[in-house]
């Protein structure tokens, strides 16, 4: 159980390692005197992966697959049911559980979070300067007389101007607010930044600006990203490696080009084929995937994807497939009957033939 699904990224330069992370929610039926547990929602069920220093691991999947829960459990914003998270050589899940404040702060300094909705994640009653000095105050790294200088530095880093410090969030557009959210995450000079759908709520014309900013910051500051998104095109742009989640588990993990060009899991393939291609001549053919994602309360037996899988075998309903190395290096897939290891064929419009 312990090691199932560990992908074997080079151990030497790995900065974040997640082992068998689980988050289960009990489903309670409330009675007059006591509640009874009638079921379990397996939101994240045995997720393991590692992220190397300086890379971006994309975590993709549809809503409800557990990608945000995974991210929050890593940071202990949600307490994980079990599993461990290593940041460098420190077991931070242990640190968070013990709750020793100096050590918790040290862990949080290294691991920061950019939220999906820049409208909800900034305090509307605080000026941007207050928002950006809060992490400096909490972590106490800088003497107070240097805070203003640091705020200006941070604003310039994310492409805003010094005078923006005295404004309130409502005076900004969505893209500018997300820049503030990024500046706040960078205030304490983290090593790893978890980006949870950072561009999903932004307009198309602003999305490219923020994606470029994230790429620039990664190059100049040597940041490591865990980039969570359901939008596969932004994942293709920003990621070094990509993990695909389905119903609380990772079904495939590989280098970005391998995953987009030679996916082996049938779910990954279906996801890729479902993306509408921006070309009116694209012939998309039939939708591969029928039905909907089952409830995480009643997960199917065996492979969780088998009821919707076009290539399911009898064994798929009985035995849980392990995430194991496929032919290529750095390519692991959890499937009893994977697609052949050939490149998917795209026609001139970019649609999957």
């Amino acid at each position: 159980m312990t090691l199932h699904g560990r992908d074997t990224a080079g151990a030497a330069d790995e900065i974040l390692r997640v082992d068998n992370l689980c988050k289960l929610y009990p489903v309670l039926r409330r009675g007059v005197f006591r509640s009874r547990q009638t079921g379990t929602i397996r939101a994240v069920d045995g997720v393991s992966f590692s992220v190397r220093r300086g890379e971006t691991l994309g975590l993709v999947g549809e809503s409800g697959c557990g990608k945000t829960t995974t991210a929050r459990a890593i940071l202990h914003l949600i307490e994980p049911t079990s599993g461990s998270v290593h940041l460098g050589s420190t077991d931070i899940s242990e640190v968070f559980r013990e709750g020793d404040r100096p050590r918790v702060l040290a862990a949080r300094r290294q691991l920061q979070y950019i939220f999906q909705d820049p409208y909800l994640s900034l305090n509307p009653r605080w000026t941007i300067a207050q928002t950006l000095t809060e992490p400096l105050r909490v972590h106490g790294q800088l003497p107070p007389d240097q805070w203003n200088k640091r705020v200006v530095e941070l604003l310039e880093l994310v492409g805003l101007e010094a005078y923006h410090a005295w404004r309130y969030p409502h005076e900004f557009s969505g893209g500018q607010r997300q820049r503030v959210g990024i500046a706040r995450a960078l205030a304490v000079e983290p090593d790893v930044v978890i980006c949870d759908e950072p561009v999903s709520s932004l307009d198309v014309s602003v999305r490219a600006q923020i994606l470029n900013l994230l790429a620039d910051l990664q190059a100049s500051l040597g940041l490591t990203y865990l980039y969570i998104s359901h939008d596969l095109s932004s994942v293709r742009f920003i990621s070094t490696r990509v993990a695909v989640m389905y119903l609380g588990q990772i079904v495939e993990i590989a280098d970005v080009d391998t995953l987009f060009e030679r996916p082996r899991h049938h779910y990954t393939y279906a996801l890729l084929k479902a993306i509408p291609v921006p070309d009116p001549d694209a012939d998309i053919g039939d939708t591969v995937l029928k039905g909907e994602v089952p409830s995480a309360m009643n997960v199917p037996s065996g492979c969780r994807f088998h009821p919707r899988c076009p290539a399911a075998l009898p064994i798929c309903a009985k035995v849980v497939p392990e995430l194991k190395q496929s032919s290529g290096a750095n390519h692991a897939v959890a499937c009893h009957n994977p697609r052949s290891d050939t490149a998917i064929v795209r026609n001139s419009t970019g649609a999957i033939a």
């Binding site: 198309v204 987009f260 479902a274 070309d279 939708t287 909907e292």
Partner: protein, 349 residues
């Protein structure tokens, strides 16, 4: 000015010669706010032909949703339609009484909203709320209406229709709710469906299923559609013609192929190139950055003078600030409003 003959819905004329099903002229929608009048839709014209899908593309605040709502005269307060004509079936919808308008909504022009969860009544079963519409428009018995709803549920791919009829919206998944909304739109065989971001809230695999469904139904019933979306992939797949909007004005309108393969307006071009593509290897060029549209979306309370896009446009020249470009035909069925493409301009007062 135009006397559009009453539409025979299954006319076998080629699309170009057939009279348009709907023709919007010089449409204006204003929001009266404390900060003055916000012109959310600022003088736009377009037609929707029989059996075609017109894609209405733009960012939030471009006025695309308000445009589609104004076709049904459903703009929410404090917005109001400040001018324009909407010719539909030989009538100008602007001149109808509210009572007459109600008879058009849902029967001749139906709507599919962005968020199916908000557009269904949470305290009525889906069967009840859909049959109510059919009873009102078609004056049939409740039982006949229920049969019609069940028939449509089968058509839109809702299995076990009889059970579903008795369920409430909260018991249905997002994908099924959107199917219910599509069934609701089809109840009275409308000539035109307005679909406002019908798949934006759905996952890609469900989105793909819903787009398949809309495509199939469109061909089967010959329904025209106005598809409002910001997703260039969705509009490429669904639309016959595409209108691009920016800051309440139309930038460019043409058939889908022209928009994607020969876009003329700088905004259309920028929209198409700024998106990352799933079929590109970015890993081979680590320093590569996406082409961006600089600046930020316009503030409609104080829009830029002249061409509203000039402050973000790479091709802008001084004249772009002084003249408001007008939609000008530059090819068959291809109109663009850009001074750099030879559009006529009206001096800013």
């Amino acid at each position: 000015m135009h006397s559009t003959p009453a539409l025979s819905s299954k006319a076998a004329l080629p699309a170009e010669e057939a009279p348009p099903l709907l023709k919007a002229e010089d449409l204006h929608v204003h929001f009266r706010t404390g900060a003055g009048i916000v012109r959310a839709v600022n003088g736009i014209d377009f037609t929707v032909r029989a059996k075609e899908t017109l894609g209405l593309v733009g960012e939030s605040g471009s006025g695309k949703t308000i445009t589609s709502l104004s076709l049904l005269r459903l703009v929410p307060r404090p917005a109001e339609i400040a001018g324009g004509r909407i010719h539909f079936n030989g009538r100008d919808l602007m001149t109808l009484s509210e009572r007459e308008m109600q008879a058009v909504r849902g029967k001749h022009i139906a709507m599919v909203f962005q968020n199916p969860a908000y557009s269904l009544n949470p305290i009525l079963s889906v069967g009840d709320q859909l049959s109510e519409i059919y009873v009102w428009h078609e004056k049939v018995s409740r039982q006949a209406a229920f049969d019609r709803v069940a028939e449509l549920f089968n058509l839109v791919g809702i299995t076990d229709a009889k059970t579903r009829l008795r369920q409430f919206p909260h018991e249905l998944s997002g994908g099924i709710k959107q199917r219910v909304c599509i069934a609701r739109a089809l109840l009275c065989n409308p000539a035109l469906i307005l679909a406002d971001e019908p798949t934006t809230n759905l996952d890609v695999t469900i989105q793909s299923q819903i787009l398949d469904l809309l495509d199939r139904l469109k061909h089967r019933f010959g329904t025209s559609m106005v598809l409002v979306t910001h997703d260039m992939g969705v509009v490429a797949r669904m639309a016959d013609r595409i209108a691009v909007m920016y800051a309440g004005r139309m930038c460019e309108i043409a058939d889908a192929r022209t928009i994607f393969h020969n876009p003329q307006h700088p905004y259309t071009r920028a929209l198409l190139t700024s998106l990352p593509r799933v079929d590109r290897r970015y890993s081979e060029t680590p320093g590569e950055r996406l082409p961006v549209i600089g600046g930020r979306p316009p503030n409609l309370a104080a829009p830029p003078s002249g061409c509203p896009f000039h402050d973000r446009c790479v091709e802008a020249e001084p004249a772009c600030q002084a003249f408001v470009p007008q939609m000008t035909e530059i090819g068959p069925g291809h109109a663009v409003s850009c001074l750099r493409r030879g559009s006529a301009g009206i001096p800013v007062q």
